[in-house]
Symmetry: C2
Subunit: 222 residues, 2 copies
């Protein structure tokens, strides 16, 4: 990082969207200050001012210029700090990466959340949807080590962050990613061998505890 | 276009997502073959094979390499044919464009469609949502001629295509974009002065007719 550069992340430890930004910064070797937001007690003035549309973490501030939405932020990080590139060099490869990034964005976390924050028939419906999504991703991965291109990159960052919630979804949805999706399971292991991922992804048991607390807050469990 | 280049669009005239691709190609001066899909009678084998995930138009084939999802395709067109650039040159400007592109993608067409394909209280709720979205976009536009940067670009292409359905939403939702959103109204006029837009956007009355036909197909009107 150049001297005098100011990189701040308005963060929340259990948010997969914040994890994406932190993994991207770790990949690029960028130092930053993570400020943990109190999402329950009250969001910071800086968060509300910097993200008036969604009022959500992550907010990324580069020399005080704010950016919101994790996928937009990861693209910005990739364009601002060149090495290692997170997107393939050719336009067609980049487009394929953006297609799968968009698929992950539209589908994966919402399905995980719907399994985690539901009960009874709603959980069964959400689980069915999540399994369909994981089947598509298993097919997209195929025999490759990573989603697009030969190296860990853009789509892997977006998806591995969401995988931090898989244990919670497995326990609450009563299924097993490892048993049913061997390719995704192998991909998670490969990603976790990377220091940039291993040091950012929280202990899945802690995410499960957090999910159980959220279920109580939402009146799903008593 | 270089000799021997093969650019094909699997198209549907009333789809704002297809219009986006056609406007981007017109901006870049790229010749292409548009093949109208029969979405009611039966989609082509090429469509089903090229877009197995969503089975939707637009599908873009560049030298037979398929791409899906309009925003991904417009990005690819921008990176493949350099002039004029659709995104700003600096990473921060590009990130702002991607933020608003994402906002338009997540919100605008769904709200328009929900007004057009509903009745009674559901229409009122959808109209309220659409008006909130238009207020946000009115604010994002501010005193600028176009959404991001000084020239017509990425966000303008995504949003102007959706505006082709505004007349249908106005008639079926009983409100007026022009009266309530002067900045959006001025922006639409500026965009329509561009040949790349004017020659692609269909007559809004035809879109209204199509919307009325869809309402009958969906059992909303009899």
């Amino acid at each position: 990082m150049s001297k005098g550069e100011d990189v701040v992340l308005l963060d929340f430890w259990a948010s997969p969207f914040c994890m994406r930004v932190k993994i991207a910064l770790a990949e690029k070797g960028v130092s930053y200050e993570a400020r943990e937001e109190d999402l329950i007690g009250g969001k910071s003035e800086l968060l509300l001012k910097s993200n008036p549309i969604y009022q959500k973490v992550p907010v990324f501030l580069h020399n005080e210029m704010p950016l919101c939405e994790s996928t937009v932020i990861v693209s910005y990080i990739d364009e601002t700090w060149a090495s290692p590139p997170l997107l393939p060099p050719c336009p067609y490869g980049r487009a394929q990466a953006r297609f799968w990034a968009d698929y992950v964005d539209k589908k994966l976390f919402d399905a995980v959340r719907d399994v985690v924050l539901s009960k009874g028939e709603a959980t069964e419906a959400a689980k069915k949807e999540l399994i369909e999504i994981l089947k598509v991703l298993e097919g997209a991965l195929g025999e490759k080590d990573f989603f697009v291109g030969k190296a860990f990159g853009f789509v892997d960052i977006l998806a591995i962050a969401v995988s931090s919630w898989f244990l919670a979804a497995e326990k609450l949805g009563n299924f097993q990613v490892e048993a049913e999706f061997p390719k995704i399971s192998g991909w998670i292991k490969r990603c976790m061998q990377k220091e940039s991922v291993a040091k950012i992804i929280p202990d899945p048991e802690k995410i499960l505890e957090f999910a159980l607390m959220m279920r109580k807050m939402h009146g799903i469990d008593h």
